[in-house]
Symmetry: C2
Subunit: 154 residues, 2 copies
DNA sequence: CTTAAACCGTACCAAATTCGTACGGTTTCA
DNA sequence: TGAAACCGTACGAATTTGGTACGGTTTAAG
């Protein structure tokens, strides 16, 4: 557990495919066939990505979807945000109604919030371009991150 | 979204309370009253934590629960693991059955896996002790992490 | 100017998960 | 012997998730 939902996973798969030919215009049907995902689901996801301004759509025959900006400038955090809303590890963080009366004298909530921030930044540091390349194990940001976490505390 | 489940949140709240007097033996009823959480839920969580060997239980009258080891040696990753199982951001990572035929030539899955590792390490780096102290914003591991992620990629 | 390819939006449904409850059993202390 | 506490299983309602249906609009091509 602690997982992103399936649609977000699909979204990154679709977007990473589009990132390979960033100026192309892709139809929902083509993407669905290419990724072996149900067409209505792909459509639904694409529409959400348009609303979040990660894609632009072109209507009519020969229409389709294309990236709204270069793949380097689209972060995984933005994709998650588009599909599932703000990253919020706990109810408390999303704040609003759910009535954590304690927050003032509750160390836990502020610490979760801190962890949440770290995750957020980490995901902002990974772009669609990174995600679409096979060897992102070498991605400098992530690699450094892994090592630093290890050494920072032990 | 991208959140831990509520029980995990409760678990950290309960454990951080116990971490304040680590040698004390706490009854489920007392913890539930203190955290204003429904007693059966608290019980359920405590039992899961025993099974994961983060707590030890003492049966009978005057029984209760106490930490199985020092708060410094219990990581948040371990707590998540105890309540919701292994950290697995995507279906693909949990692997097993769910048939990602592509994994061989799918850059996305390996990259999610990499991100998953980073999160795992980050959560292993935060102990229950950190979590129970109000100013973990000053926690060296996390603080450094935040800054480093920012600078590593931009 | 008609047709077909494509996107658009809303609404709906079924399955899975989550959150919480219930209840009967066992161990230990006083 | 009784009360306080843990133990385990199983259940059920509510939410979330994953996916479908369908009728509408826009645009290119013949």
């Amino acid at each position: 557990m602690l997982r992103i939902n399936r649609e977000t996973d699909y979204a990154t798969a679709i977007l990473s495919l589009m990132a390979q030919e960033p100026d192309e215009c892709y139809s929902a049907a083509w993407l669905s066939a290419r990724r072996c995902l149900p067409a209505p689901v792909v459509s639904k996801i694409l529409k959400q990505l348009v609303r979040a301004q990660l894609l632009v759509s072109h209507r009519g025959a020969k229409g389709g979807y294309s990236l709204a900006r270069p793949a380097e400038e689209i972060s995984i955090a933005a994709v998650i945000n588009a599909i599932e809303g703000p990253i919020a590890l706990t109810d408390c963080i999303e704040g609003g109604n759910s009535a954590c009366q304690y927050s003032a004298h509750c160390a836990v909530s502020s610490n979760w919030s801190r962890i949440n921030d770290v995750f957020q930044h980490a995901l902002e540091a990974v772009s669609l371009k990174d995600m679409s390349e096979p060897l992102a194990a070498e991605h400098p940001g992530l690699r450094a991150l892994g090592e630093r976490v290890r050494s920072a505390v032990n």
